[in-house]
Symmetry: C3
Subunit: 283 residues, 3 copies
């Protein structure tokens, strides 16, 4: 099985599929091709959330603002999975997640004679993914044109500071529904039924429909982190998260119910900004 | 075969695919993941239009504004098909269509220990769909954790009132091309070559290109219903259909030719509103 | 293998998949379903770029503004590939590319009793693609309901005029990243490190990240042609390409970095317009 993830939109992913299908009968599964354009960090976040749900596979990942420069092409072995993509950090958080005891192996792929300098998804990474799939993850060590390396671009998401009733974290990404996802672990909300987000008081609920349509809530998202949301609306707008071109999710979907509150004017929190959460004891 | 339909956008559908592929080798086929967000009614309409073209399959459907509340999780057996999704009506119109003589069977899926309260597509419905697929539709009656029920949320689309030369119907959905689809059956247009739509006179044509670019027409759409359209343009705009967040189709695609007429100002017809069609005899 | 390409958006492609899966076990591969709506020319361009990367397959293509008129339905045999779609030119450029020595064979598909006049993708082309797949490309000559023809709508992209240091070409399409793709072959840039695009001086670079974020460049795209681009931005905006509804790529994706220069006001170059490139000798 080979999964495909990119920020290519349309129709470039099809060229990668053609290249793969010339070389392998593997099942192909699209993860997404509309990751935020050239946003390595948001893509890395989403891959870490999604790929661990897959059975062992080769994961082809192409979010690659450095295409055509001297950035390396990598294969990362993590558990029974392999990740193939550019050396810009996008593969690393999910590699840590998939690996046993944080141990993953990084290899460089030689690609001197790529057909283009602008589309390595098609000309470098898809052929490499097909080769890794056909050889098998265990055969990586001796594979021609693939060299073990200790050097690679790392990427880590920050840890929040949690102290008693307060957490200072970061807004990591905004998802396609407008939910604003922080790095604060969901356990922080245990036993809490109201919270202040940067000073704004909001109820803590198990899921969206526990408040009325258009009302704000804070909940634990499917990623296990604290998330700022609105029932049938967009949390990013209702919490004043500034529209960011690198916000971690496309936002061309609007929702059924207008949000209350400061949604029209951004209060200027951006992805990557600090978020402060202050809990109040259970009533 | 398992089909997947949701309003998830990106990249959450991939998590469902991973969960399925951990449990089954079934072929996976995407129906769509950009159904109008949290719009149970429009999704129900489209599933009824599309799923009957499939061979027998398990259809995983997740448009689920009530996730995390006490709404039930259902499996519906209809003919040789099974539908898996939330108990909010979204599965029922297509179940009627797939069933022999309107007879379909409804089962509740127990899910006390779901991993999340916010992503039952991944944690409840995808595992249930995989189980139903592996067991087979006929094995549903004795399947562990699956209980027959007579209680479920029903959903029916209204019937139009057709009298002689006049029909009073409803605007059901707007499709991705901007075609505004009514519940009036296409036979109403037999022998008619001009029609008044809420008083506006429009030609009746077999297809779009029978009028000039940008001109309005009324035709029988592929669903068999009367549809308001514009050749190479958007019928919703040209007929003054108000932009609705729950309009039954995303509309981020624009078209090649500006529409004539009252397109810039909405005349305020909305999805769910009454539409009156008055025919004139064949010239 | 059957590939699918259309301008249908959502969810109509799923109906075609259902129809195919009723008739064949072939692997189905989506090329794209968001080709610029009713834009035969842009779709023809992209198919020619993408389909040659596939192994032999039946390619189902439905961008069909003339649906329901008397335009023919075609099967085109080109090498070991077959293309199925409307007779409007969309299949021809890629047929020339796939064929040996420009020799491809065109057949008309009879379809008197199509179920609808508005959705031939589902009712005419998908059934035809399934039949061609099951029969095999070599069996086309005697296949029932399929008749060889010499008449079909041709489509050719223009050749540029290249003279010494100047090329006069055409802006063919804008891709999803905003790269504005011309018909001038990349070899025109050999040994050139600066170029004037309609009088505007721009560096020639091997790829995007060789200039700073937001800066303009001219490069050879993955299609082998000269392309106007911006590093981490949109070339179409920075070079003043007028927004066109038939621009050859959806542009609902914005990018991370604002473009410098005349991006806010279009200088009015449109897809199909002449582009003049004047090179300066290598420094």
């Amino acid at each position: 099985m080979i999964t495909l993830a990119s920020d290519f939109g349309t129709p470039y992913p099809a060229a990668m599929k053609g290249v793969l299908l010339q070389r392998t009968d593997a099942r192909l599964v699209d993860v997404a091709h509309d990751f935020p354009r050239q946003d390595v960090r948001a893509t890395a976040f989403w891959l870490r959330e999604v790929l661990p749900y897959f059975p062992p596979a080769v994961h082809l990942v192409v979010v690659d603002p450095g295409v055509g420069t001297d950035r390396a092409a990598l294969v990362v072995r993590a558990g029974e999975h392999a990740l193939v993509g550019p050396d810009n950090g996008v593969l690393i958080p999910v590699a840590r997640e998939l690996a046993d005891a944080d141990r993953f192996d990084v290899f460089r792929v030689n690609y001197e004679n790529a057909d283009s300098a602008t589309f390595h998804g098609r000309d470098v990474f898809a052929p490499a993914a097909a080769r890794v799939h056909e050889a098998g993850v265990d055969a990586l060590d001796g594979l021609e044109g693939v060299v073990p390396t200790e050097e690679f671009e790392d990427l880590r998401f920050p840890d929040p500071t949690v102290r008693d009733r307060s957490a200072t974290g970061e807004l990591l990404v905004v998802d396609d529904f407008g939910n604003a996802i922080t790095n604060v672990p969901g356990e922080f909300l245990d036993g809490v039924d109201e919270i202040e987000v940067n000073g704004l008081s909001v109820p803590v609920e198990p899921s969206y429909a526990h408040v009325g349509p258009g009302e704000r809530l804070v909940t634990v998202g499917s990623h296990g982190n604290v998330e700022l949301a609105v029932n049938r609306g967009r949390g990013d707008e209702a919490f004043g998260v500034a529209a960011s071109e690198a916000s971690g999710g496309s936002s061309d979907k609007s929702d059924g119910v207008a949000s209350e509150g400061p949604s029209d004017e951004s209060t200027g929190i951006e992805v990557g900004d600090e978020i402060r959460l202050d809990t109040r004891p259970k009533r």
